[in-house]
Symmetry: D2
Subunit: 344 residues, 4 copies
Amino acid sequence: MRAVLFAGDGEVRVDAVSDPGIEDATDAVVRVRRAAICGTDLHAVAHSAQLPRGFVLGHEFVGEIVDAGSGVLGHRIGDMVVGADYTACGNCWWCRRGDHWECAERRFFGTGSAFGPPLAGAQAELVRVPYADTVLRAVPDGIGLDAAVFLGDTLATGYAAVRRAGFRPGDTVAVVGGGPVGQLTSLAAQACGAGVVVLVEPVETRRALAAAQGALGTDPDDARALVDLVTDGRGADAVVDAIGGPRGLETAFGLVRRRGAVVSVGVHTDATGPLPAARAFADELSLRFVIGNLMRDADELIGLVRSGAIDPTVVATESVPLDDAPNAYRRMAERRTLKSLIAL
Amino acid sequence: MRAVLFAGDGEVRVDAVSDPGIEDATDAVVRVRRAAICGTDLHAVAHSAQLPRGFVLGHEFVGEIVDAGSGVLGHRIGDMVVGADYTACGNCWWCRRGDHWECAERRFFGTGSAFGPPLAGAQAELVRVPYADTVLRAVPDGIGLDAAVFLGDTLATGYAAVRRAGFRPGDTVAVVGGGPVGQLTSLAAQACGAGVVVLVEPVETRRALAAAQGALGTDPDDARALVDLVTDGRGADAVVDAIGGPRGLETAFGLVRRRGAVVSVGVHTDATGPLPAARAFADELSLRFVIGNLMRDADELIGLVRSGAIDPTVVATESVPLDDAPNAYRRMAERRTLKSLIAL
Amino acid sequence: MRAVLFAGDGEVRVDAVSDPGIEDATDAVVRVRRAAICGTDLHAVAHSAQLPRGFVLGHEFVGEIVDAGSGVLGHRIGDMVVGADYTACGNCWWCRRGDHWECAERRFFGTGSAFGPPLAGAQAELVRVPYADTVLRAVPDGIGLDAAVFLGDTLATGYAAVRRAGFRPGDTVAVVGGGPVGQLTSLAAQACGAGVVVLVEPVETRRALAAAQGALGTDPDDARALVDLVTDGRGADAVVDAIGGPRGLETAFGLVRRRGAVVSVGVHTDATGPLPAARAFADELSLRFVIGNLMRDADELIGLVRSGAIDPTVVATESVPLDDAPNAYRRMAERRTLKSLIAL
Amino acid sequence: MRAVLFAGDGEVRVDAVSDPGIEDATDAVVRVRRAAICGTDLHAVAHSAQLPRGFVLGHEFVGEIVDAGSGVLGHRIGDMVVGADYTACGNCWWCRRGDHWECAERRFFGTGSAFGPPLAGAQAELVRVPYADTVLRAVPDGIGLDAAVFLGDTLATGYAAVRRAGFRPGDTVAVVGGGPVGQLTSLAAQACGAGVVVLVEPVETRRALAAAQGALGTDPDDARALVDLVTDGRGADAVVDAIGGPRGLETAFGLVRRRGAVVSVGVHTDATGPLPAARAFADELSLRFVIGNLMRDADELIGLVRSGAIDPTVVATESVPLDDAPNAYRRMAERRTLKSLIAL
């Protein structure tokens, strides 16, 4: 089969590799119909320490089951399915609690050994999926492939942020960062009861997209003033950091009101991070980290997308064939596109 | 002042009555700018056992504070405020729990002695408001008078139903009845995370309004089939009965899925009602009654309306001057209009 | 193997039947170490329309896995496990939501065709368990067999009632019925934040047991007066009906305060049941039915029992060998014992 | 009247000062029957920058209302009441949300200007209480004065930690610090559904007290090993930091499991604090600060104490007359006593 591979030195290429097959009874093999390129892919390729050359990339995918082990009970060959971006056994203490990210069987598709033992990715004609009953979910009629491909990671992440924030209907929610996750966090927040959503983003086109989708866009420099304006000076009831790092947290703490919640879905690699201790105590703040989880949230996500309450395709800038994936990677890395889909 | 009065024999008239004034230190007097006519008013006038002739009608109102007792701390003369439809002390065991409806100080504006000791209504130039700090809430910039008048009862009721239903994001919600409360229940459900909302209503124009506002409208006869279609045959995750009586509950039970919730905001006057006991046990159903409560939910409602997440004015068919209120009553009773506002 | 069998005419006997074996890849076979006799068993034997002669009875059990199909991933031969009282697939829309009772694969052990297709029971030396990864849960060190046997049904039911009631810490909870489920509901309520628990029961020894375990016991005739005394006349915040039928609901409605919750875990076989509609509306009551679910709640139950927060063995009156089970059935039916364990 | 006063140089004395009286219509004056000495008092006296000489100390109190302004509606002269440790208006945006700590009318009794404008304290024969309807709560029959005095701060704080932690029934909760707040956090956790509670404390007598009250006590050095033992190596589901400062947070982060919650009720005065960013992200941790709040939680606290579910008096080492308060301060500061009550 053909697949998007890490080519070394920050580059990707498309080439032929051997087809994956069933290895365990709970595996399925999926013929990919849509994959997507994620910021995590760009980051893995640019900082490739944990990624061997020739590794198949990608973790966002929708496709058709073409083979299934004897232990797969919930899916059949021919089913159209969306995959979570990582695997989990579905039956351990963590999975039962809905915390699949903490499962010992976690393998993150297409990222080498960055988040656990390596597992070949999904920007390919075929992908092997362990624990298929848990990791794959049927795509119902009424959700197109271009929408379904967002369920596994980008929308699952925005939605997880919204749920973890626990705001009340009518509350003001600020989102730091207007990349794909930030944009879908904004949509999920609006669909799930937020009043005003303020999206904080330096790039004008991204602010414009957010504004066209019901949020208020603002440059970081003007964010606090705008938040104050819509909250009578209190600050945002909840802030989602969708960029990560110290800057993400600092921006979020700068916008949150007393007794408000900061939720971070950005990546944090520093051993220590900024915590405004005295203020957090005096203002009873909370800070919560969360990672998207299709395996826990699929039915809710499917309900929201199938009904039209959320349309995740608004962040898709382009859809390219598999062979054009290297160029699509380049355009995304140069911020000329927001999100690229790969159609197979 | 002039006011809408009960004229006996199912009739209302507008006439002059003496101005209300401060009676207790926690009272305020409000100069009404918008009032609304509610199904409860029509019912009280038609079944007038508890309503003396000459009683001032109405319980939905927005206006400006023109006088306030010495014990009113949270409002000032000149403030634009919306009133709850009934009073409560704000400080007892019930009020502290958010259950103001159960407060011993409950007086329902403009309905005679139907729901407690009588209290003159708000379809008038002036209305006296006991416990003004609790019963009145400031209308912020950004909410027009025509929207604000819905906060006190019609939207508060729809919102209470939605909150009491406790559905999950993406769930399918059915609403039985397309009157003003049913319509705003549909809007509140959509704003607060529902996936598909199905509104069940025999009158075509009311179904059309619901459909224009994002719901699926259906005749009662076709309701179950439509609900099955969008839920893969399971039934609605939550059903709100917005008509009341045995028919409201029976229709709701007929649409709800196993382990689903029926919430009733309709009026029930029969001592006993229909409960499908064996099925409710086998299917783990729940049934919950709830009454709207601005005093508990105002900040959430204001956040939803101010941000545009909910626009309650879509149910207002007409706005009339005070002197035309009797005709507006008649048009609503004849179902020629959905909801009439009175502008003063 | 030997097993407790339905003997016809309201009788049970112990006799030899053929050993069960693995039929599906997800099956396990458990060598039973403790079984328990439940009111449901007594009811099934007395009203035996759905129970063929020679059917193996019983649905509460703990034991050791002695065989497992190739699809069983979460357990190994030799594991000590407790079983849920009914089966579920663990992977469908209902199971994912925690509503295993609604799963199409539901089979209730040892009750004939009363609650779905028949499945041989667990008052036997061996029991076949379908969907073993979902239906069985490991019993950790620190929980004895006599305690563990309560996890699958009696305690799971009491706990489900407590969770479904949704009361707040310090609330007053009334429990109607002092049988095993009522007693464990009382313990679960106390462990999970209840203030006063009032147990309503005509049999003095059962009231005494409840009182020895921290509740206030009362005869039904005195129940309302006692509840009023401890709630300043308001009524119980939540009432659990643990007896079922119209009397269970009527007693519960008679004790619940305005805006309180009635939760029924008793059995209801009448097509219609008592609903005080006008009062339920005026007082914003809620009524919820629920069935115990080890598959959803096992980790919580295990945490509560392992820590000593709940000791379910207090309701076990006696422990008998398998051959004495018919006498134990008789003693329970005559209310001479509260709950009998069978030790193998 | 006589009162405990700040004497300068880390000392307190008892002396006569003028009686307080009603200043605002919503004030009450309370004749104190029990006061308590809190770690906050010791800290204020030792670090006295914000405390003028002669200032009346203390913020934990129970007593009888002896005078009330015309705006006090919910209490009457002669009522036995417990006070919150700080004031709030009861009617603003923050108070309506239950966030009284954030109210602009916050005054913390007896601590000078440390937490807002100064307000004379309650270790005195009389104390003036602003916003009496909000700040005072009636002590019902069935709660003794020695128990009631804990409601306002020490137990309210432990309870707030437990509620903010949001753990599930049966979860393992670790409490860092065995002072009065830590001890009552342990009791509140047990009453509200915790399974095992581990209390981490270097002082042996404090560990012994915790153990006698149902927790497992451990020295900080052995804490992780003990937590691992009872959680199968996962770590505590929730950890409450009841000591504050960097050490409190670091100890808490060292005990919490992946996806667990750290709640801090200790005091934090450093501008920045320790946040293990990379781990917190990878493990989806949450960190929440919270301050006790009788005004929000009184009914729940009263229910728990009145029923005997929590007995806060177990932390009271001694009860002294007002004139002996300076010695009691000294004994607490020297850690010879855990908690001293002042009986008047």
